[in-house]
Each structure stands twice: as C-alpha cells, then as structure tokens.
C-alpha cells in the first residue's frame, strides 16, 4: 500500500464531498416534502389517495434504487422526451426513493401520537388542519427524528451509486484516480474514510438535535 502516490489527487477526491452533499441535501429535502404529502394521503380519508400512496411506497421500496436511477437517467428520452443530465437524474431518483421511506416513517410517527391528543383537540372544536399542524405533527416529529436521521445517513452512503451514471461524486472520483494510478485500494480506502467521517458528523448532529428536543419533556 502506498498512499503517497494519491496525495496529489486527494483535493480532487475531496471536491466530491460537495457534489455528494448537494445531491443528498436537495434529494433529502425534496424527499421529505413529498414524504409528508404521501403520509397525509396514507392517513387521510380519500381511498384513491391512500391507494396511490401505498402503491407508490410499495414500488419504490420493492425495487432496487440503482434500477430506479438507471431508468430515470438512461430512459429519460423515452420518459420525458429529453435527456436529463446525470446530476438531475441522481437528485430525482434519490428524492422519489427516499420519499417512499420517509412517508412510512412519518405515517408511523403520526399514528404513534396518543389517540387522546386527537380527541382532546377535537373536543375543543379544533379543525382538522390546525389539529395536525399544532398538536399532532409537533409530537410526531419528535418521535420520528431518530428514524429520519437514519434515513438521511442511509441516503448519504447510498448516494455512492450515482457513480454508475457518471456523476463525479466522491466515489466516482476515487475510482477515476484509481484507474489513473493503476492502484485502486488507496483511493477507495480514502473515499471510505470520507464517507465514514460524514456519517459520524451526521450521527452526532442528530444526537444533538434529539437532545435539544428532549428538553421540553
């Protein structure tokens, strides 16, 4: 093993952090927004919406993420009539995929809120929307924070598969350096270290937020 030979390439690999973070952040936020919407469909009273949200979740959880990514990227001319760029395809597929998982997390979180809370709000004449916003969601969010953080960590690690459609994230850059130097172990281990440190930072951030939220208990 000779790490010296990849030292000049380290800044190049490190620049991939930004690419990875951008994909994860935008996809995470989009996925969260779609996830909230889907979770409302799931607990709502409109049968069609419930059916749609359940079907959506079933399909996105039941097929490989890499397949969804490749369909969105390589089949985009057939799907949308234009070739979308790899970066957009990566964000889109990750957002759609994580929305399925996040909607399940939120649904479970909402349903775990004591039934009495809902009844107390109803008994005061509070309309459904306000009850959800002021009473149920704030309590549900606290329940789901650990699971949500987990999903975000998974997303960060799994984002490495965007390398298959050529997005130059950390993974892709490490691979490029490896083929350049005819030595894969060192750049790949370096990439592994970067991912691990990112996950550690996220884990600590999650614990910190959780601790702060628990103060009101």
């Amino acid at each position: 093993m000779n790490f010296e030979q990849i030292i000049p390439s380290m800044p190049y690999i490190l620049q991939g952090i930004w690419v990875t973070l951008q994909i994860v952040l935008i996809a995470g936020l989009l996925g969260f927004a779609i996830g909230i919407l889907l979770s409302f469909f799931k607990i709502g009273r409109v049968p069609f919406l419930r059916w749609f949200a359940d079907g959506y979740t079933s399909i996105f959880r039941g097929t490989p993420l890499v397949l969804q990514l490749m369909i969105i990227y390589y089949a985009s001319p057939q799907l949308f009539g234009v070739q979308i760029d790899a970066y957009t395809a990566a964000i889109l597929s990750f957002a759609l995929n994580s929305a399925a998982y996040i909607s399940e997390i939120i649904r479970a979180g909402i349903q775990a809120v004591d039934k009495g809370q809902r009844e107390a709000a109803m008994a005061l004449g509070v309309p459904y929307n306000k009850m959800m916003k002021d009473v149920i969601l704030p309590q549900g969010m606290k329940n789901i924070l650990p699971a949500l953080m987990n999903e975000f960590i998974t997303l960060t690690k799994e984002s490495a598969i965007v390398t298959v459609i050529g997005v130059t994230d950390i993974m892709r850059r490490a691979y490029i350096v490896g083929s350049d130097k005819f030595s894969f172990l060192e750049p790949l281990l370096f990439a592994g270290l970067i991912y691990y440190l990112m996950v550690l930072v996220l884990t600590f951030a999650g614990k910190w937020v959780e601790g702060r939220m628990r103060r009101s208990d």
Partner: protein, 240 residues
C-alpha cells in the same frame, strides 16, 4: 338544554347503547353511574359526537346535532369535555394549553386569551404553574388544567368522563372541589364517575346505566337510600 331520544350505538356487532332517552335541563348537574362496560362513557362521548350515534336523535340547545347537516366542530366548541387521562398537550405550557383553543378556534387576540387563561388558572388554583410544562405537574394539577382548558372555550355544557379515576387517592379531592365550585356557578354538567359521595352531594339527578340501557334516573338522596330497580340495588351493594 340536552335532549336524547332513542339513542343507539354499536361498535361492529357489539351494541353498546340501547334506546337511551334522557333530558338534561339548563344548570343541572347529572351524574351517570353504573358498572364498567355499561356504556356510560360512550353515552357521554356521543353527546359531543366523539362517537357517532348509530341511530337516534340528540338535541343540544336549539341544534339537532345528529342531523347530517350539522357541523360537529361548532357543537364541540360549545360543549367542554374533560377526559379520564387529561390529554393535555405535552409540548405546550400550562397557559398555552388553556389559551390554544380560544386563539385558534375563536380567533381571540393573544392578550385577551392570556387574560382569560390566567383568570381560569387562578380559579382552579394553579396561577403559579402557568409557564410550566404538563410533565412537571401532578395528576390532580393536570386534571385541573384540563378543566381550565375546557372552560376557556366558554362552553354551555361540561362533560366529565371519569375525571378522577386515573388519580392517586390524595388528589381526588382537589379535582372534585373544582368541579363543585363549577357546579355552583350554574354550569350544566354531566359527569361519569365512581365517586358515590360526590354524586350524592353535588348531583341534582343520578342516572344509573347497566348493559347499555338507562335503567333508572332519580334524585340522588332517594337513589342512594333506596334505588327502585334491582340492578341498581345490586350495584350499590357492591360499591358502597
């Protein structure tokens, strides 16, 4: 004030209420007693439509609340309810709990709601707890906050669903005292309870239920001296 005619309620195949007929006058305090599973709570919960009656008619004030056109939110903002397990909002302060519904349902201003909230907390003896979170309170204190929260909507009727059943014995009195002083203000109240002493002292009328039926209604003094039905006699023998 409240008129119930031919009220039935089933959960699936289980018939919980069978042909309930009752009338509650303005300012009257009615206590509902009976064995567990007799349908007392379900009866109470039908009155603010937390349970939807299977059939029958309920009129509150001038509104036929069981009519399909009637908006349950309007009814619930006029009928206060206190639950066995308090159901305070844990993420809001005590004052926040009390002012939430006036602010969000009635559109009261913050200043007015706070003023009303503080008055109500003073009435239930918890002025010093206004800025605490519910988890810092004892059961009795929680239930008094819950009473203040329901009163903040200035209801015409108050429903109490076993308000002292989840409390440690030493906290029962403080809650009953608040309810007694509320009864003295002329509030129309309907109370499901196992506190027979309280029923005898405060109730204008006792309703005895068993197996989903309204078996007997009577003046509390007569009822506790000598109930006219055998089922009520059996019940009283067990609990007194």
């Amino acid at each position: 004030m409240i008129k119930v005619e031919g009220l039935y309620k089933s959960f699936g195949k289980l018939e919980v209420l069978k042909d309930i007929n009752a009338e509650i006058n303005e300012g009257e305090v009615v206590v509902v007693i009976g064995p567990s599973g007799s349908g007392k709570s379900t009866f109470l919960r039908c009155l603010n439509l937390l349970e939807e009656p299977t059939s029958g008619k309920i009129v509150i004030g001038k509104d036929e609340v069981t009519s399909k056109k009637f908006n349950p939110q309007k009814l619930r903002s006029e009928v206060g309810m206190v639950f066995q397990h308090f159901h305070l909002f844990p993420h809001m302060t005590v004052l926040g709990n009390v002012t939430y519904a006036p602010l969000k349902v009635k559109g009261t201003t913050k200043a007015e709601a706070d003023k009303l909230g503080k008055e109500l907390l003073a009435k239930v003896g918890l002025s010093d707890k206004a800025n605490e979170f519910p988890n810092r309170l004892s059961g009795g204190q929680k239930q008094r906050v819950a009473i203040a929260r329901a009163l903040a909507m200035e209801p015409n009727v108050m429903l109490f669903d076993e308000p002292t059943s989840a409390l440690d014995p030493e906290m029962v009195k403080e809650v009953l005292d608040v309810m007694k002083s509320l009864a003295k203000t002329g509030m129309t109240m309907m109370i499901v309870t196992h506190e027979m002493g309280f029923a005898r002292e405060v109730a204008d009328r006792v309703i005895f239920m068993d197996e989903g039926m309204l078996v007997e209604q009577a003046d509390p003094i007569e009822f506790f001296k000598a109930p006219s039905t055998e089922r009520a006699q059996d019940f009283l023998q067990k609990v007194l």
